[in-house]
Symmetry: C2
Subunit: 203 residues, 2 copies
């Protein structure tokens, strides 16, 4: 199909597709003349993937490109590939004090790479909570750990074993599901606070 049809079917504007082509996020089409190229179904799938990566709570163009490069050539070592994807989607861990984050991970009994960017993200989140003078009671923290472990174990049970499929699952599962879980938590809070205040108020 021509770029105009690709734009129509993907819902991504032609100018945006051309930008993705220039940035190397979408592979070039097959040239049919010096000014025209043909695009296939894999271009359509690629645009959907890019839209997911760049979505509301998504990545910058530079990070999306790094993630796509790993997804395009994951190699034989799935763990190394997952590590590269995580490095690409997270801020640098440099200079972050991770002691409290690692203590929390220990409390959960998880074995993780202490130098991984998620540990730094957790450390930053713990610092932000403390800086705001906000205290999380121990039983709430324990609930967070238990709930996270349940979520992860349900998700990982469905992880494909093929390296490319597994990467796609991990990347989309992380980026797309975070806003979904955030919305579910807020809705569950709405329900729980209505329950609690209804009990407190007999009218």
């Amino acid at each position: 199909m021509r770029i105009s049809e690709l734009a129509k079917r993907s819902g991504v504007a032609t100018a945006t597709i051309k930008y993705y082509l220039r940035e190397g996020l979408v592979p070039p089409g097959t040239l049919t003349s010096s000014t025209q190229a043909q695009y296939g179904e894999h271009h359509l799938a690629r645009l959907r993937l890019i839209r997911a990566l760049l979505g509301p709570s998504g990545l910058s163009i530079a990070r999306a490109r790094a993630v796509l490069q790993v997804m395009d050539a994951p190699g034989d070592d799935l763990f190394a590939a997952l590590g590269s994807v995580q490095q690409a989607t997270f801020d640098d861990a440099d200079g972050v004090d991770t002691a409290k984050a690692l203590a929390l991970v220990d409390r959960a009994g998880w074995s993780v790479d202490p130098s991984s960017p998620e540990v730094a993200q957790l450390a930053r989140a713990i610092t932000a909570v403390a800086d705001a003078g906000f205290t999380l009671p121990d039983d709430v923290l324990d609930t967070y750990l238990a709930a996270s472990a349940e979520i992860a174990s349900a998700e990982i049970a469905h992880m494909p074993t093929d390296a490319a499929d597994a990467l796609r699952y991990a990347v989309l599962g992380t980026i797309l599901v975070e806003p979904l879980l955030a919305a579910l938590r807020r809705l569950a809070e709405q329900h729980a606070s209505a329950e609690r205040f209804r009990q407190a108020d007999p009218t």
Copy 2:
């Protein structure tokens, strides 16, 4: 204290504090001459709160101002105040098809306001997952619902009953804890995938 000391103690640059003052996020100090004002401990607390609201995954200046206005004058109706805060922290719900989101909420058995912005956020997240061709198995979805309910009920049990304290708890709990939960989920996934791949690979 003078603005220079306020900057030093809060870690917020003087120019930034002046910007917050102009934007109405921080109340003015007490004028001691035509060019000098004095600031107190409540200014320090206010700056910490603003930093939390505007942090990495936080709000725009305009939304932070709207949230602060409700927090400053919550009135007698805590529910109405919470609703206003949620409206201020979320995108407009206009024109979003919420049928699938409401079906998911029904499945969880939660009673929520169907017109609340969280329902629209959930609807957007569900659409993003579907658009990317990503499928969430039913048992994973059910785990999300159960985990969200557990988290919310632990959190709401600790919610203060005083309206101003409750609002502070709700706002900071939402904005500061979302990145913390996201990091915990990623770390739990790291642990769960290591467990699963270790079992699959006997070497």
